[in-house]
Amino acid sequence: MNWRRVWTIAVKEYVEFSRDRRTVMATMLMPLIQVILYGYLSSDVRYQPTIVWDLSQTAESRQLLEAFTNSQYFSIKYKARSMQDVVRRIEGGEALVGIVILPDYAKLLHQKKSPEVMVAVDASDATAARTSVSVAQAIGSSLTHGMVLKELRMNGAPIPKVGVDVRARAWYNPALRQEVFIVPGVLALVMQFTMTFLSMSTIVKERELGTLEQLVVSPIQSSELMLGKMIPLITIGYINVTAILLLAVFWFHVPVVGSVVLLYVTVFIFFFTTLGMGTLVSTIAKSYIQAVQLIQFFLMPSMLLSGFIFPIASMPLALQWLSYLVPLTYFLTIVRGIIIKGVGIEYLWPQITLLTLLGLAVFTTAVLRFRKRID
């Protein structure tokens, strides 16, 4: 390994990159834009637009609706005058939830009979609907609970000390803020894309231009050429990671609980892996367009399987096994572990080891394929 030749390549890559304004802008801004978008879009299911058909029109029915509003999950936007109104708003998409209170609601309450309240939820989006349904049910049982206690007290009966007291505590993210979970994930996701894409394009572009042929005839070794190209990309990657972390901490108030040093070390292992992936793609694809398509083909399943959106534990077993082949899976666990939970190498060593092994396999294959002889 001749380090001066490596450095010659690295300097050339730096200069070339810095002169290409559009690429510089895209590389520096795209990660931040993605973090901002994901950060804002990942907010909880709240303020679901709701239409109410209140046939009771009593203090009791208003009390019920107040409970819905106070939960912050429902926002009563429309008053209906008929069932058709309710259906039309939901079908039109203006309302996601419809509440119907029957005329005898208050009367049945006073007669100590349980009146029925209908809550219809647009369940096209199952995740949001699930939240709405469980919150609605919780509101119902909480009201019932209160009424039972009141009844007992009024009758002078002793209040029974039975029941289960579930005390749920949200560790690591006590306020249950979705962005605390999502933003570190976006860091991993964005870096995977940037590193794979840049390493692919620096090689494929050189090949399409014809300059790769010229380099191949020079005394430079393929390993020196690769390393020289990777050094600037790793620098760019670290600038991106730092910018994303600053944005996460100071804009989204995502606390970085664990060791930043450990984070930066594991980021390096991940860079190594993703740069290898990009190089591998460049050796397979015949053209730039083909390489871009191939990368999508790699990155799409890797995002879906990694646990970025869908928890791995709830995947079918076959897909779980597949997810263990995806480097992003390990890196996500590492990044979330360090940033959110503040755990260190004592818990993360299996992931770090596997990511390193996977990285070595990918990188070695890439180097072997990226031989000097280009037939």
Binding site: W7, I9, E213, Q214, V217, P219
Partner: protein
Amino acid sequence: MNTTATTVRAESLTRRFGNFVAVDNISFEIHSGEIWGFLGPNGSGKSTTIRMLCGVLEPSSGRAQVLGYDVARDPESVKLRIGYMSQGSSLWNDLTVEEHLRFYAGLFGLYGAEQRAAVEEWMSRIGLTQRRNELAGSLPGGFRKRLALACTLLHRPQMLFLDEPTSGVDPVSRREFWDLIVGLADAGRTVMVTTHYLDEAEHCNQLAFIYNGRIIARGSPEELKHASDAGVTVEILSKDNVAVLDAVEDLPYVRSASLYGSSLHVTVERNGDLVRLQRFLDAHDLDVSEPAPITPSLEDVFAGLVKAASPSGAP
């Protein structure tokens, strides 16, 4: 073996891609100080041969030595000592003239004061000192080619491989470029060059014509023009050159016929055929001048060679 006189020695060099034989058992020698022209249509095997000689592409069979090193066994020694200008670009649009020279100097192991000296020297020799900070992407075509050439010369290679170095360049720049090449050969460097321009081939000491992977003719430009099997070329003037060309080009004894400026060059197999050609022209009442024998141009020679070598066009 006299390695001082022979810079390149190819013996039965062959390269196959699958079933396709790109270079078919060719042998030749290039002597030091020669400008060796490698001519032939697109896809005839020129670039494949050069890439084998540069140690980029392994020969399927046969062997080749460049500057005494075997290209298959010791490609790295070959690469250190040659200059190679590929058909594609060797320049990056976003790098300046000076950055290119420094980059290639570094690649070939020149650093510090040695690098600065080599860069300054070549920048002035190609006349780009004034444009040292200009981006290669904004340079005119002729300057780009000269810069690319200088990039291959910084490490003072004794052997130069130039693959169509003047394609897409205007005639004045082409001439300036050839002045540089001739100067390099005069200084003792050996040059192997491929070209499509047959006027450029006149600058070469030796020529080889490759067709379908085989060398079908070789010699100096003069030898090729006067070779006994080169046929007899006559110039014909007429009012309607195209009509005459259409009439004569498929005659069995006409080896080649082509428009040449305002006249028509026709090459026939031997002297006796001239009488038959004259008779044919008279019989068909074509209004032409008396066919006048001339020295054929390289174009006539090669047009004839290709026609003779191609399976369908053979008489």
